[in-house]
Amino acid sequence: MRSALRAAALALVVGYCLAPFLWQVITSLRPTAELMSLPPLIPTRVTGEHYAAIFHGHPFLRIIANSALVAAGATLLALALGAPAAFALSILRVRGRAVILAGVLGISMFPPIATVSPLFLVLSTLGLHDTLFALVITYTAFSLPLAVWLLTNFFGAVPREIYIAARVDGCTAFGALVRVVLPLAAPGLLAAGLLTFVFAWNEFLFALTFTATEAARTVPVGIALFPGLHEVPYGEIAAAAVTVTLPVVVLAAFFQRRIIEGLTAGAVKG
C-alpha cells in the first residue's frame, strides 16, 4: 500500500511541476480559432502556425540570439574574473579572506532595483543604452559574487600539496592555476558557469531598463512585452515561451548533476 501512496504522491509532484508548462505547449499548438474558447480542453487539431508566426513576424530569433550571447558572455567573463579571485581566496590564502568572502556574499544580496537607476543614467550618457555590452557587464558583475563563492568552495577541495608540487615543478602561481587547479576544479567551473548562465538567461529588470529595441532585447523582456501595438497573440506568446524554455530545460536536465552540485556547494557550505 505504501508504494502505491508514494507513487501517487510522486505523480502529484511531477504534475505540479509540469502542468503549467504542458498547458503552454497545448496552447501553442492550438489553432487560433479555438484559442479563445475553452470547452475543448485538448484542441481538435494541432497547428504549427504560431511557431511559424513568431519567427516570421517578430524578430524572435534575434532576441534568442541576444539572450544566448549575453548569457554566454557574462558566464565566460564571470568565470574569467571569478576563477583567479577564488584561487587567491582558497589556495593562495590571501590575508583577510573571511572578510572578503563575507563582503562578496553581501554584494550578492544587492537588490537590482537599488543600482539600476545610476547604472541606467551612466550607460545612457556613455551611449551604451540598448547594447549587449551593457548587459554583459552588468550580468557579469551581478553573478560574480555567487561564482566566486562557489569556485572558492570547489577550489578548496583541491589538495594544497598538489598546488605546491606544481609550483616546485616549475609553474608560476598563474601557471599552477591554469595547468593544475582549473583542470581539477573543472566540475566546479561547470557548475558555477551553469548557474551564471541561468541567472543571465532569466534576468529581467536590467534588460527591461537597459534595452529599447531588438538590437539588445533579451528573451524575458521580449516575451513580457511581446504584443505589438495592436495584437495580443496568446498563441504566439505560448509558442515563444515554449521555444525559449526548451533549450534551458535540456541544459538543466543534461547538466543537472552539475547544477545540483553547484547549488549544494554554494548553499550547504553557506
Binding site: 479563445m36 574574473l81 544587492f110 537599488a114 537607476s117 557587464i137 523582456v221 534551458v248
Partner: protein, 285 residues
C-alpha cells in the same frame, strides 16, 4: 642567478573581479545613496541637494507603506509555503532510485524557466474569462483582477517557480546525512515519525536556514513576476517596493525620490540578511 621576485601576491588575482564589482555594484549603490539626498527629476531642472526630504516624503507616503506591506506579506507567505512544500517533496523523493535523473529534470524545469516567461504562462492560466484554472475548477474568480486574490495569485506562481530550488537544497542536505545514522536509529527501534523529528529535521536545520535566507532575500527583491502578471494593480494591491520604485524612477523619472525607495528595498534586504546571519550563527553553534 638573478633574484627573480615572483609576483605571487594574491591581491593581483582579486583585482580584476574586485574592480568590476566596485564599478558596477558599489559605485552605483553609493550613487543611489547620493541621489536619494537630492531633488533630481529629469523633467524639472538640475538636481538640488535636499538632505533627508525624500526620506521624510517616504515616511509620509501611504503608497510606500502599502508597497512595504505587500512585499513583506509576499515574502513571508511565499517563503513559508516554499519551505513546507519543498521539505515535503524532498522527503518524498529522497529515496527514489529508479528514474531519479528524469525526476530531477522535471523538478528543475520551473526553476529554469525565466520568471517573466512563467508569468506570461500563469497570466494566461489565471484569465478570468478563458483561463484554464477557472475552467477546471468550474469557478469564475477574477484571479489577477481582484485585490483579494491578485497578490496571492502572484505568490502561487512564485511558489511554483521557486519550490524546486528549495527541494534541491534540502535533497543535498538529506544526502549529507550519513546512511549509518539511519541504520543506528533503526536498530534503536525509532519509528518513521520520530526519525523525522528527532534526526532528519535537526540535521537538516542548517540547510533549511540557508534555503530560508536565499528565498527571503529573493522574495524581498521580487519584480519580474509582479511587473508581468499585474503591473502592481489592481488598486496597488500587488505593488511591491521594487515595482513602486521602478514606476517612480522610470515613468515619473524622479531619480531623487526613486533612489530613496531603492534604498528602502536595500535596507529591507540588508536587515533580513543580518537577522538570518545571526540566526545562522546560533544554529551552527
Amino acid at each position: 642567478m638573478k633574484l627573480e621576485r615572483e609576483l605571487d601576491r594574491p591581491l593581483w588575482y582579486l583585482l580584476p573581479g574586485g574592480l568590476l564589482l566596485v564599478v558596477v555594484t558599489l559605485f552605483p549603490l553609493g550613487h543611489v545613496l547620493w541621489l536619494s539626498l537630492q531633488r533630481h527629476s529629469l523633467l524639472h531642472g538640475p538636481p538640488r541637494f535636499v538632505g533627508l526630504d525624500n526620506y521624510l516624503r517616504l515616511a509620509g507616503d501611504e503608497r510606500f507603506w502599502n508597497a512595504l506591506a505587500n512585499t513583506a506579506y509576499f515574502a513571508a507567505v511565499s517563503v513559508a509555503l516554499e519551505l513546507a512544500l519543498g521539505l515535503a517533496i524532498a522527503l518524498m523523493i529522497a529515496r527514489v532510485r529508479r528514474g531519479r535523473r528524469l525526476l530531477y529534470g522535471v523538478i528543475l524545469l520551473p526553476w529554469a524557466v525565466p520568471t517573466a516567461v512563467s508569468a506570461r504562462m500563469w497570466e494566461w492560466m489565471y484569465d478570468a474569462e478563458i483561463g484554464v484554472l477557472n475552467y477546471l475548477a468550474g469557478t469564475h474568480v477574477n484571479w489577477l483582477g481582484s485585490p483579494a486574490w491578485a497578490l496571492n495569485a502572484a505568490i502561487a506562481m512564485d511558489v511554483w517557480k521557486s519550490t524546486p530550488f528549495v527541494v534541491l537544497l534540502l535533497l543535498a542536505g538529506l544526502q549529507g546525512i550519513p546512511r549509518d545514522v539511519y541504520r543506528a536509529a533503526a536498530v534503536d527501534g525509532a519509528s518513521g515519525w520520530s526519525v523525522l523529528v528527532r534526526i532528519t529535521l535537526p540535521l537538516l536545520a542548517p540547510v533549511m536556514l540557508v534555503a530560508l535566507v536565499f528565498r527571503t532575500i529573493d522574495a524581498f527583491r521580487v519584480f519580474d513576476a509582479i511587473y508581468v502578471l499585474t503591473g502592481g494593480g489592481p488598486a496597488d494591491s500587488t505593488e511591491t517596493l521594487s515595482i513602486y520604485a521602478y514606476k517612480v524612477l522610470f515613468q515619473g523619472l524622479e531619480f531623487g525620490y526613486g533612489s530613496a525607495l531603492a534604498v528602502s528595498v536595500f535596507v529591507c534586504v540588508g536587515l533580513a540578511a543580518l537577522f538570518y546571519a545571526r540566526l545562522m550563527r546560533e544554529a551552527l553553534r
